[in-house]
Amino acid sequence: MNGEEYSSILKRSRREAHQLLFDEYYNYVGTIVVNHLRNVGGREDTEECISDVFAKVFFALEGQSVTGDMRKFIATIAKRTSIDCYRSLSRKTERSVSLDDEMFSVISSDDDLEAENERCELQRIVADCISSLGEPDSTIVIQKFYYNKTSRQIAGLLSMKPSAVRMRVKRAGERLRSALAERGIKEESL
């Protein structure tokens, strides 16, 4: 759904426009939010943050004639909101926010920049390796090892039996390790 389509639906029905935008971008926004909150928030915090993102997006687009692709706009609001949530949750849990924390690195030395570049490159390789597993293994691996879903929950999402998911987790995990090793990445460096 692009901006023109959203504006057109919004004129007809606010409820319908919100529902359609939510349906289309829920998984995308969820991915961004979890990517930022995975280590500081629980499931409820993630859901709160996702709902904050959509409330802001709905509000920002209210009555506005918009054109073009909305994905980047929504991603930007999602990222910014996630970072705000991260800060808030860190305060709540009295998590000390280090000046070295990559999320708050205001001024970076050359060494920091080099390390950050390396980290970004590593992220891309890992994401590529996961994609190379193909479906449904790439989804199973990410749901299991990143979103920390149980085999039963994954089975529900993919319409598979939990036993089949467990078997695929084992095999896909081994394939991922091999793919990373082929690119010279050891598991302990992740």
């Binding site: 991915t31 961004i32 709902s51 709905f58 980290r119 994401a127 994609s131 390790r177």
Partner: protein
Amino acid sequence: MNKIDLGILDNADEDVIEKLPPFSSDEATRKRVLSMSEKKFDKLMSEQKKVDDSEYEVSVSGVEIYRRPVWHRALGIAAAVALIAGGIGTAAALKHRSPKSGESMFGAQVTDEQTSAVPETSSLAAELPVKAKTPVIDIANDEVRFTAAVYAPYLLDISAEQQSKLAAALDSSEWTPCGEDEPLPEGQTFTMYVYNNGSPYSITLYGDKTVKLEGMGETTRWHIPDSAASAIIEAAVPETEKDGIWDETALLGRMTWCSADSINVSDIWKNTRAGARDCDMTNKDDVFFKMNNAPDYFDRASGTVKIGRLDYYASGCSGDSTKYDFQVDLNTAQAYQYEENYYGPSYEAFISGEGLTDQNVDFIQAQDGENYCSASLSDKTYYKLPGVKHRIDSPTVTLEELRGKNSESGTFDSSASRIQMLSGIAINCIENYRTAFEYLSSFDNWDIVGTEEVNGRVCVHINGAYQAAYDSITSFDLYLDEETGVTVRLKAYDASGRVVYFIETENLKFNGEAEQVKNPDLSGLTGGSEAEPALPKKAS
């Protein structure tokens, strides 16, 4: 196997996130999050409005002619977009800074007039800018309904033509605010309710041609010109008189019953089928949802439904069935049903109506919006009881709600189904919740075969297995009306493939095509509403 730590992916750039298989949730979680989003959005809108109002208090003074009342809308986007579009990989983006004029994520040019400073309201609202206001009291494409003494306790949904005419009259009128001490006149009033995309408001017209504007947390009064007042009255009380007599039939299908305590700006919209949502009838969740909420997909219906059961013996088959001719209007809670009972030798005989033996036990069930009436034509008695249910008593149920006390296991809980509105009228046809639970609650046991035309309706064909130790049924074919979720045909088979239970709906018509609700003819019967008599018994 050992867990693989993928923490390296945290705080990844967009290009990496795009490559990752997306996060996903079950349907219940998605619904909960959307609901939370809508509530937060409403709060943002409400806070934005308070900010707008306080601005007006400062900037407007003295007596001023207003062209018409203005309903404020927050249109904030450009500044927020400009603020956050610069990327947030660095801490600089975490700090608020002023947007550049004309920046827009969507390429749309935004003028300086449309953007202004961010007001300090709540933490959420403060992050988004206030923008120009726009008048949106344009009812041309909105949902509008009226109350007036002449048809109380019903609401009137005006015709598209009347709505267009009224919209034009209001659009061209100039309104001036009333003085603070101007008293409210006594006498007849006409109130117009506007849904306004979930932010409803009302306009009540008084005899002195003033109106009270109510909604979004405030009430104001205005003087309006004669032309606008006449347009409101004309829409509220359409010319339906025939030979000087009020002709209700001209408003058929446009009246909705409404209890006195729900006649207010927001509750008035609960007396409608607001819960209907688009359903993909190739999806099991949607099929189950629509079947459980079939009354949300039509206002009026009529048809004939036959329901029967057959037993098979070594010597042959015997069965009995009931045939109901019905008309219902769910908006007014008026309904009528004529019930006949038969014995028959086969499923085919019951469907064709040939070779049946009349049990000579006929009943009429009817309701008039307030009272329910049941008449036994064989006993020549009837009784009436109050307590008719209306749409407001039977809200839409979501799949999450249908799981009820079984939410942990994810299975469905039949006690969580919606309230039945009609007392025994077309019960397994248009209010088919029991059939839905009995046959479809275990999604593993059935499949959607496709769509077929049955008895003149396009239907979703479902084939499944039936598991109940106490019943001879082992499998079934179910045909649901694709448009409404109403049961058109159910054939339940025993292990030998013989029909042992069936529902067959014929001449099914909806809304404008549906037959008018009949009045029960109680002449020659004895009874009344003084006390509840014993329920009429069928002859054995």
